[in-house]
Point group: C2
Chain length 225, copies 2
Amino acid sequence: MEARDFKNFAYGHFTKISKALASPRRFELLDYLSQGPKTVERLASETHMSVANTSQHLQALREARLVVSSKVKNHHYYELADQEVAELLHITKRLAERRFPDVADVRVMETTDGGSVPVMSTSQAMAEVEAGRAVLIDVRAQDEYDSRHLSSALSIPLDKLEERLAELPATKKLITYCRGSYCLYASDAVRLLRSRGFDAYRLDEGPADFAISRERASDEQEDAR
Amino acid sequence: MEARDFKNFAYGHFTKISKALASPRRFELLDYLSQGPKTVERLASETHMSVANTSQHLQALREARLVVSSKVKNHHYYELADQEVAELLHITKRLAERRFPDVADVRVMETTDGGSVPVMSTSQAMAEVEAGRAVLIDVRAQDEYDSRHLSSALSIPLDKLEERLAELPATKKLITYCRGSYCLYASDAVRLLRSRGFDAYRLDEGPADFAISRERASDEQEDAR
DNA sequence: TATCTATTCAAGATAATTATTGAATAGATA
DNA sequence: TATCTATTCAATAATTATCTTGAATAGATA
């Protein structure tokens, strides 16, 4: 193989990955998939795309080997092919926030509802929970919770929150979380809870982001040995 | 701002980053830029692109805020806007190798010349150097060495290697490195050195990759505190 | 001032990507 | 077997990206 062919081969493959992430629709699909496996129809309705278009984008993601699919009954489930895909999303978002400060500003504005929704970091939240002063509430859909959730978190999907208020301790902090820093569910939950007198907060990340920080930490412990 | 507008805003910005990485030419430009600042003409000749096309791609990278430029005399120097860009390249490559095993196979085949060029990891190399059994040789261009290099490495650009053989210790291992795992310079150097009787090896990464591993390690030490 | 050099800009042809529509398929369920 | 459901495929039109060519610019140098 000639040197130039080798470079074309390598860069061609690298950009298969980046091309797959280069469409806002596909980026969003991957973002949802980082919460766990989902069917085409579910992804279509969550992203407000047509089913055909969703399917087409999923084909593109599969060609780039970022997702894999499996069949259960007559549903096709798609999921991330590798946890490193979630890491790539994470780093791309972080770089976007660094290079376009507006992005972070708008995120904070929107997810805190202009400052009225207090935010807590995961480490702070963990400390509160361990000290018995707070309870974690996962407000995502049940299957997303089942797929992965923060330890000790309760599952109360946002649309069930109002009818299940009685289950919540009035004397503790309630710390909600959802898919990640750009998801508004936890902010909606905090607003509802605060309007009912609870001391509510939201996390600044979701289980996928948290898993990445954890993994990086353990990678490094291995490297250090 | 409506919830949908917020998502479009956020995903639109995330994909500005990915779109910039989605062309093999631009990916290659960034890869060269991770070795240090370079002029348009230099980048054009290294990537075998026309100057106009190179400039156009650099504009695109600047729009995506992945590079910044500065002017010295009548040369425009471009450089990475953030070290995290190099990290994004690194992770994209790693994921491409995981998902497309051929990429790693071809890389190993090409950079070891079918197995005849022995490869060493950076940690192994560092240990050999510290024990006084090996010398590190940076075979990249002088300005790339000046921009950043592994500590204790000698600078001997590949095209000067033959005339400077007398400077090299015949009793130690010679460990060469270049831009990274996909760069062939170090392999060429090893072939030359071995043909003259030296005990030569190449590193499996370059200074940019090495810096990323280091940074990750120190990030995690901070997190642990 | 004239000229040279490095870079950018503008226009155009070609190719690739996207969303939409409607048809096709494959596997359940009745 | 017939029907239903979830998904994919195929064709189209609209948009966007790419490379080439040649002209324009801005700053050095003579």
